[in-house]
Symmetry: C2
């Protein structure tokens, strides 16, 4: 018998990827704690046994989901072909803000799990934040200077990490209550704050 459904046979890796994608989507309306292998099994319509085969235990599953979510964040905030570095930063921040708006419940729970006592989740999350901050220092302007006119040094990196923590706190609070600040103003303020902090 030949399949006529149009479905192709998927490799175990491909299948795991697809399930992980679904697991990460569940974060849009559920906290990390509310996402279990049982919930994923129900949503995907496949057996729990198979999912335990793919993801091990709940902690391993959460690690895989958080790693995927962080990869998504790094991907969606990737630099576009924008000449002005401050405008580029604002566009990347805009993609981040949109992600938090769309995944508010899950994102807040992920940040709390990563900031709290879960060492493995914190390590993954902090590596993601570091990748985002490192990216700022990789971009060089057409004059060969650091893109934002910010000199690269350990001290400036420390302050840029602080800017990253500020951005996370402000965006999460802004999504809950915009405090009369438009999306455009939010992005300009946060982008403008980075050179202001680094050069303060």
């Amino acid at each position: 018998m030949t399949s006529t459904s149009g479905r192709t046979r998927m490799s175990p890796e491909g299948r795991r990827e697809q399930l992980l994608e679904l697991g990460t989507q569940l974060l849009s309306t559920r906290t990390l704690d509310e996402i279990s292998i049982e919930v994923l099994a129900e949503e995907a319509g496949i057996s729990r046994g198979l999912l335990y085969h793919y993801f091990g235990n709940k902690q391993d599953f959460h690690v895989a989901v958080v790693r995927r979510a962080v990869e998504q964040l790094v991907a969606i905030t990737a630099p576009r072909d924008i000449e002005d570095p401050l405008e580029q930063l604002a566009v990347s921040l805009g993609a981040y803000v949109d992600y938090v708006v769309e995944n508010y419940t899950g994102y807040v729970s992920l940040v709390r799990a990563a900031s709290g006592g879960n060492d493995e989740l914190r390590t993954i999350y902090e590596a993601g934040r570091r990748a985002l901050v490192d990216r700022i220092f990789e971009v060089t302007g057409s004059d060969g200077m650091d893109a934002l006119g910010v000199p690269d040094s350990p001290a400036v990196r420390l302050l840029a990490d602080g800017w990253s923590a500020m951005t996370e706190a402000v965006v999460v609070a802004w999504v809950a209550d915009d405090h009369g600040l438009s999306r455009e103003d939010l992005l300009q303020r946060l982008a403008g704050a980075l050179p202001a902090i680094a050069l303060a």
Copy 2:
């Protein structure tokens, strides 16, 4: 029989205060999780039963310790009689930095517990942070303007909360590794960042 030890009979409230003070001191070298009623009983040399009488269960005890630690933070960073508001802010930040240096292990664990899943600890900690940020807007310069020349608005308060999150992240990271930044430079950078962020 008259006491000749010089000790005065202490009220239950006074005794509880004294024990709480000791419990908070334990944070200098221990994480919050490592501080239990059992540990306090051993340090204070009194029975666990009496301590359970004063503090209820472990969560209630931790709530009392965190509330006290936050009160201490608010108290030690209180404004002095310093004319220049930016200098005043740097002095308050200096007191905060010294506190984190002296209580590093416990403070980091407290921040993690407050940022993580413990709602009660988070509420207490965030109220403390809010008191510190509110204080910035209470101080008015001799010309009647906001002390730092920062206009007060919901949007600026949102950004000031972000500055507070940045300050916490930078100070905790700096205590672990100074990134070549002197204490004086750290304080000037963080103080200067507030008006820079608010006016960015």
